[in-house]
Amino acid sequence: MYAQMVKSEGSSGEETPEEREFQDRIDRGEKIEPKEWMPAGYRKTLIRQISQHAHSEIVGQLPEGNWITRAPTLERKQILLAKVQDEAGHGLYLYSAAETLGISRDEMYEQLHSGKAKYSSIFNYPTLTWADMGAVGWLVDGAAIMNQVPLQRTSYGPYSRAMIRICKEESFHQRQGYHIMMKMARGTEAQREMAQDALNRFWYPALMMFGPSDANSVHSEQSMAWKIKINTNDELRQRFVNETVPQAEFLGLEVPDPDLAWNEEKGGYDFSQPDWDEFFEVLKGNGPCNKERLGARVKAWEDGAWFRDGLTAYAEKASARRAASATAAE
């Protein structure tokens, strides 16, 4: 997902009384708040997961930012700008949720910029045509929603509250994407082809967003016990396919999977898995746009340094001036 393959850090030895009490609280549906006692593994895993999610929101602005200046109408440009601005907001909500666990913002940036921290594989694919803005909103935000809706119930209070805010804003993202797809699919033949091509390119990368099957993963088991993961990757992927295929049919577009078929017995579609070798390559940094994305992010951070420093210097000066005039008035 936006946080793919997050390794959870279960405790090694015997369960301590504190750990038992902590697990009981979670089982009772209580929320855990910052500064309360929590197992070191819970803290570490959450920091990893929330920061990876935050990084994805921030890097996720880049493929769409690519089209802001080339949107076909002023209205589409305003919409896309608002959507990308929302994603910046999502990143900020999540970074501050992670900070309540004791990691600093700069540390998280450092981890992203050095390549130590990951972000979602999906943002390492290029956005080649305007139809990709449709496919991204429809499929990528759609897949993100699938994961974020259950996470509103996660056990960690600040994370849960960030998810609730994010989910409120996401449905506009998906709908504006689908709206673009509708326009394109019902436009000229060339536009319809563009829409089909975008679906062809984004279908499997979208399925990868949920991560590889984790039905037998101990990490997932621990995360689910802690309620920082609610569903298995396969469950969410299946749900996504079930909801998305009829939407593609409505558009008159074809999902690029010859084996896609409704399975009456399981009440869901049978579908082909994405190429997991490709997924691991992208995660390792060898996707089509990894270097470009991270490069753009690092450049923005470095180019902005003089500005951040300037504002800091101004703030320090102003507060010194205030202090001086307060003393003078005494």
């Binding site: 708040e33 501050s96 900070e99 600093s104 700069d106 951040r308 420093d309 504002l311 800091t312």
Partner: protein, 94 residues
């Protein structure tokens, strides 16, 4: 590396008549910028009519580990609630 901007806690009044409510936090060099940033981060859909910003380091919080000693004394004082008193149904307006 540059110095990290301080963290500000953000409180928003969603409409007049309601309290300001904590909505999250953000980094900014000073209070004025924190308010500007809070507008962009937390009120993109008209979620507020007023913003308070407080430096996170200036907030003193009660200790989670003292939750018991601080809050439990209120537990056995049920007589502070109206439901503690049995008043016959015949008595109206009470």
């Amino acid at each position: 590396m540059s110095k990290e901007w301080p963290l500000w806690e953000i409180f928003i009044r969603s409409q007049n008549g309601l309290n300001h409510r904590h909505v999250g936090s953000l980094h900014a060099p000073d209070a004025e910028t924190a308010i500007l940033n809070a507008r962009d981060v937390y009120t993109r859909r008209k979620e507020g009519v007023s913003i308070w910003v407080v430096k996170a380091v200036d907030i003193t919080a009660s200790q989670p580990s003292l939750k018991g000693p601080i809050f439990d004394p209120a537990e056995d004082k049920v007589y502070r609630h109206p439901t503690f008193y049995d008043i016959p149904d015949d008595v109206e307006h009470m």
